[in-house]
Each structure stands twice: as structure tokens, then as C-alpha cells.
């Protein structure tokens, strides 16, 4: 079944029940439950799941769910509900039409607001076993005719259906979810901020398709089966670091105290500096890895410090968001408010780094405070073996630096 077929079905349902809206004091009671939701992009239907319960709710993409910052009614519109995503300065606003929700997803860019039609009906999307023909690793070239750039596409079969990701020089695009049948596939990633979809069809030995971003952007790609030879430039070669002196920093923590590289807690320690943002999906995937490293090596002399680049630049607003992030992952190392985020790999956000900085970027300092290694980006669990290899590399790096002595 294609996405368009599914979409037509859902629209028919919405149209058939468009008469009496749920008339409650507050639409939140009427929307409680599980929803199969979709954004209508120019290139097809991007599917995700919603679970709503009063003032709370989560948005789910593949096996990963994240909470809305608030679920509210709308004063003067008893049939409307707003699903707020404060971390991303975005929201879904929808009307209850019988047993459907119809509305818009909205975020704000530098050129004005961007809206994408949204709809949902009750229930869950079926998990269909994906066709085996496309499963595996593909070396892709995006935009081959106008401006070629390399990517790797991973497609995997799971109990939830097709899952996978796209990997660029600086990291992956998070977990995608969808299905694959008869030589074609579609899968999507929507976390409240990034609106991505990948569709493709097998043409002989070549995979041809389109990467969709936002409402209208469509970037063509071609891909061939990976031969195992490197197709991407390793992230560690993308970022250069100044290693002539100790890496220094001084920023306020989310608790309001100043934290500096001169503080006693970092003296003679191996230190990991993690540059992140709560708005960055890949950072949500690297956070558990940082927590695990800290638990494993803290007693042997590892310290970690997270530097958050947030959305507003207002310490009260950003501090609250980062504290929520800290609590979500059970982070016990300090998190600092380092600035306003870039959102891309193009930021020049640290004094002793050069090159495009990805979110997250992980910087390893030896016991003298000098940069010994920089890893831009993070291979999340969606990348499978690349994820495992990266975690192993992080552990070996930390153990090597700890073993250097003082």
C-alpha cells in the first residue's frame, strides 16, 4: 500500500465525520487516546503516532517517543487543541472533527512561519514486514545533477516494519520508520522539529528516489549497494582543533553557577566536552552514551561537561528546557548554557575549533586539558554497527587517555 492510498483513506474518514465537532469545555478530553497521524508533504504522507492523555501527550517516531511540552485547549474554540513543542518553537494546532483531527503543524523560520497540513485518525499505523530486497547499506549521492554530495542510507527490518537512517559526513538524521514492498520504500523522521522523508525505488541495481525536507523541498538521490569502501569523509577529519594550549571555557550552568575549565573538578582529569542542544534529535541519542561513559569511568578520573546551544538565548527559558533534558536522561555531570544554537553543522561556536560543527560534537581532553580528539556528530542506535563501533571507539579513547597518567 502506498502512502497516497493510505492518505486518501484517511481523508475520506475525515470528510465523512466532518459534521458535529466534539463540544466539550476543553477539547483535551475529546482527544485522549492513540492516533495515527500524518503531515501532508508535497511528496506524500509522512506518518507518525500520537498518544494524548489530558494535559500530556507524546509524539512517536518509530520506537522513540518524546513528550509535548504542553497540551492545551484554545480559549473560545472548544473543539480545538494545541500540542506544543517548546523545545523547537513549534506546535500542532488541530480541530476535532468527529473522530478525526485536522489542522496544521507550524514552526517559524527566518523567512516567516511555515505550515504543513496535519491530520490524524484514531488507532495506530500497521507494522508491515518490509520486503527483504532493499534491506542493507546503500552508498548514495544526493542531488546528483545539480550539486552532488555523499550520504549513506541504512535500511533494516524490525518488528515495527522498515527502519533506517541517512548518514552524512557529520552524523545521522535520526531514526526513520516506514515500509518497503516490491522494490520500493518510504520512511520518515518527524520529531517535532525536523520534517524528513525518504522515498525510493529499485531500478536494476540502482536505488533512485527523493529526500523530502519540510513541505516542498525534494532532493533527488541515486544509490548503489555499499561495497564496504568508505563513501563518506570521516567526521573526525571535518573538525580541526587548536591543540597548542589547553581547551578553555567558562559558562553559567543551568543552576546559575559559573563553571570554568579552571575549576578544581576538572584538574588533572580526562574531560569530555559535549556540545549539544535540546532541539537536536541526535543529541537525544548521544546523551545516554555520555551518561554511560560517566558512570563507567568517573571513579577513574573522567569528567564530562555538556555545553548547550539553545533556541532563545534567554537563560530563564533555556535553563528550564535544559534542566528538563537533564532530568529526562538522568545526567549528573554539569550542563552549561553556552549560547544560542546554530541548528546546522556550519556554526563556529567554540573558540578552539574550526570547521563545520555538528550537533552533537564530542571533544576529548587529556589530563593537561589539551584537545586530543574531536568527533563531530553521533551515530545513533539507528545506524546499528556504526553505533556500536562508535561507542567502542569512545570507550577506547577514554581508557587510553586515562592510562596516560598525570
Amino acid at each position: 500500500m502506498t502512502r497516497f492510498t493510505r492518505g486518501a483513506g484517511l481523508l475520506a474518514i475525515a470528510g465523512a465525520v466532518a459534521a458535529p465537532a466534539a463540544r466539550a469545555q476543553d477539547a483535551r478530553a475529546a482527544v485522549a487516546g492513540e492516533w495515527r497521524a500524518a503531515l501532508d508533504l508535497a511528496g506524500g504522507e509522512l506518518r507518525f503516532r500520537l498518544q494524548l492523555d489530558g494535559a500530556e501527550g507524546v509524539l512517536c517516531n518509530a520506537g522513540t517517543c518524546q513528550p509535548f511540552s504542553a497540551v492545551t485547549g484554545v480559549p473560545g474554540a472548544a473543539d480545538s487543541v494545541v500540542l506544543d513543542m517548546a523545545d523547537y518553537a513549534a506546535a500542532i494546532r488541530a480541530r476535532v472533527l468527529g473522530d478525526s483531527l485536522v489542522g496544521f503543524y507550524r514552526n517559524v523560520g527566518n523567512r516567516g512561519p511555515r505550515t504543513i497540513p496535519f491530520r490524524a485518525s484514531r488507532g495506530t499505523w500497521p507494522a508491515e514486514p518490509p520486503s527483504a530486497a532493499l534491506i542493507g547499506t546503500w552508498d548514495a549521492t544526493f542531488n546528483p545533477l545539480e550539486r552532488p554530495s555523499p550520504r549513506v542510507i541504512e535500511l533494516r527490518a524490525t518488528e515495527r516494519g522498515l527502519e533506517g537512517t541517512i548518514i552524512s559526513n557529520s552524523g545521522d538524521y535520526g531514526v526513520f520508520w516506514g515500509d518497503a514492498a516490491e522494490g520500493s520504500f518510504d520512511m520518515a523522521h518527524f520529531d517535532g522539529s525536523f520534517v524528513y522523508m525518504l522515498t525510493g525505488t529499485l531500478d536494476g541495481d540502482t536505488l533512485r528516489g527523493t529526500f523530502h525536507a519540510g513541505l516542498r523541498t525534494q532532493t533527488p538521490f541515486v544509490a548503489v549497494r555499499s561495497t564496504g569502501r568508505p563513501h563518506l569523509t570521516p567526521p573526525t577529519e571535518v573538525v580541526r582543533a587548536d591543540t597548542t594550549g589547553p581547551f578553555t571555557f567558562a559558562f553559567p550552568s543551568v543552576d546559575g553557577t559559573m563553571v570554568s575549565s579552571d575549576d578544581p573538578r576538572f584538574r588533572d582529569k580526562v574531560v569530555i566536552v559535549e556540545i549539544f542542544g535540546t532541539w537536536c534529535p541526535t543529541c537525544h541519542e548521544s546523551a545516554p552514551a555520555m551518561v554511560a561513559l560517566y558512570e563507567r569511568y568517573r571513579d577513574r578520573g573522567l569528567e564530562i561537561v555538556g555545553m548547550a546551544y539553545e533556541v532563545t538565548g534567554d537563560s530563564a527559558v533555556d535553563g528550564a528546557i535544559v534542566r528538563r533534558y537533564r532530568d529526562k536522561f538522568g545526567i549528573t555531570f554539569p550542563l552549561l548554557l553556552a549560547g544560542v544554537n546554530d541548528g546546522t553543522s556550519a556554526g563556529e561556536t567554540q573558540p578552539q575549533l574550526a570547521g563545520p560543527i555538528a550537533f552533537p560534537t564530542t571533544i576529548f581532553l587529556d589530563r593537561t586539558g589539551r584537545v586530543r580528539k574531536v568527533h563531530a556528530g553521533f551515530y545513533g542506535p539507528a545506524t546499528g554497527t556504526a553505533h556500536e563501533a562508535l561507542l567502542r571507539d569512545f570507550r577506547e579513547t577514554v581508557e587510553g587517555l586515562l592510562a596516560e597518567g598525570r
Binding site: 512561519p113 505550515t115 545539480e146 544560542v340 556554526g347 573558540p351
Partner: protein, 266 residues
């Protein structure tokens, strides 16, 4: 009888006929223009950035009234020095300059633009022609003869590397038209619209003299929909601080496309 004639000359801001989706989009855009901290109406400064920019007394003309600070392009990064210390400045995102002032650095290194925002000043409700279903046109995109890209101004006055995506061929306002299309990235995102910057017979007679932008919507294959009801002004139409893009050669429609955003002159 002068009174009825005057009524005919008033700008039409009819949005009632527009489909609900377009009406909501227009209302959202109007609200953003009038209230958003990053609205073009809030911009007080928009200039190419070289190495240093000084805010506050004795600083850059136009920025003397801001809190004292210096924006610098160092060897490795952009930084902002102020009484609160030094901090890194990311690109494409707004940074607070204290009080009501915000700073945004856009574009690549060596070709950066600094925009400074204050309170939204004298915002105008944008005007639109009445919705016209006949200018929602599906056409084809002919690929370019060879790969080409060039630096060009986006609708926000920021220079980007646009890649030539081809020629859109369709029938608009009783005329067969061929319009050049560039894929123009939106800095800080993975998005890149297929854009047309066009002129038509309404320019200076209801619409902005420099022309208007239109983003194509893919319809599958090489089919692309141009909805001229969604033609929008470059930021220079709202605020003279923003530079206007140069006309794209050949992108002139002889007839009047009375659809999309109008120009309500100051």
C-alpha cells in the same frame, strides 16, 4: 463622481475567497510580520559583515543606541564581546543583545550579513489580491542544459548559492511563459525551495516594483505547480534596510498577474 473612483483604487485585501488553507497561511504570515521579533519590520540594520562591528555609543552608524558590544570574526569563530564577557555567536539564529535588541548573522563566512532587530516598527498588514483559481498553474520543469550555480540574493536579502534547476514552462494570465528556476537553500535548514523571481505588468501598479518570489510545489515527475496566489514580496518591500534582489534575466511576464501579495507603499 470622485468617491466611487477612490474606492476602486484602494488596495484589495480580500482573503475571504481564498481556500481555508491559504487564508490561514496568510493570517499566520500577517501575524508574524506584525509581532515576531525577527519580522522584517523589526529590522534596524542589515549590512555585509567583514571583521568587526561595534554596537553602542561611538559605534556603527545606526547602532549607537544599542548596549555596547563588539562582534568580531576571529580566526576560528564569531564572538560577541560585551560587559557580560565573551560568547560565541552561531549563524542563522537570533542572539540577544540585551533589552529589546537581537542580532542575527546569516550567510557563509566571508559573505556574512548582520541583521539587527529592535521592536517591530509601524507594521503594515500585508495586502493580497482576491484569490484567483486560474493562476494555480501546473507546468513542467525543463532541466538546465548544464550544471550551474551562482551567488544570488534570497527574498530576505541574504546571499546564498543558488543552483540552476531549469525552466518552468506553463500558461499564466493568457500567456505561455518560460521562467528560470533556481534551487535556493534556506540557511540553517535542510530545506531548499525551487524559486522563481519574476516580474509582471502589475509591478509598480499594485505590486512591488522589483518583482515577487514564488516557490514551486512538486507534483510528481517533472510537473510543478506555480500558485501565483502565493507570490510574495522580498523583504525590501517591507523595509528599505533590506537589499532587493536583481531581476532574473528573462523572468518577465508581459501580462498582469493580479494575484498574490500586493505592495502597500509607505
Amino acid at each position: 463622481m470622485r468617491f466611487p473612483a477612490l474606492i476602486l483604487l484602494l488596495p484589495t485585501v480580500a482573503v475571504a475567497q481564498a481556500p481555508p488553507e491559504l487564508a490561514a497561511e496568510r493570517a499566520d504570515f500577517a501575524r508574524w510580520l506584525q509581532t515576531a521579533p525577527g519580522s522584517p519590520f523589526a529590522a534596524i540594520y542589515h549590512q555585509p559583515f567583514a571583521d568587526d562591528l561595534v554596537f553602542g555609543p561611538g559605534g556603527e552608524p545606526g547602532l549607537e543606541g544599542l548596549p555596547s558590544a563588539t562582534l568580531s570574526q576571529g580566526l576560528l569563530r564569531l564572538s560577541l564581546e560585551s560587559a557580560d564577557g565573551s560568547r560565541g555567536v552561531p549563524r542563522n539564529r537570533d542572539v540577544s543583545l540585551g533589552a529589546e535588541w537581537r542580532l542575527r548573522v546569516t550567510g557563509d563566512r566571508g559573505r556574512s550579513v548582520v541583521t539587527v532587530f529592535g521592536p517591530v516598527r509601524e507594521p503594515k498588514i500585508p495586502g493580497w489580491y482576491a484569490y484567483d483559481s486560474t493562476v494555480v498553474v501546473e507546468g513542467t520543469l525543463e532541466p538546465p542544459p548544464k550544471r550551474a550555480s551562482r551567488r544570488m540574493l534570497g527574498l530576505d536579502g541574504v546571499e546564498v548559492e543558488g543552483s540552476h534547476a531549469g525552466t518552468w514552462v506553463g500558461h499564466v494570465a493568457d500567456q505561455d511563459v518560460r521562467l528560470t528556476v533556481y534551487r535556493m537553500p534556506e540557511p540553517g535548514t535542510a530545506e531548499a525551495d525551487l524559486m522563481i523571481f519574476f516580474r509582471d505588468a502589475t509591478n509598480g501598479r499594485g505590486t512591488y516594483p522589483a518583482g515577487r518570489f514564488l516557490a514551486l510545489r512538486p507534483q510528481g515527475g517533472n510537473r510543478y505547480r506555480a500558485d501565483f496566489n502565493r507570490a510574495r514580496n522580498p523583504f525590501c518591500a517591507y523595509n528599505g534596510i533590506f537589499p532587493c534582489p536583481a531581476q532574473w534575466p528573462g523572468n518577465a511576464i508581459d501580462s498582469a498577474v493580479e494575484a498574490g501579495e500586493r505592495y502597500l507603499s509607505p
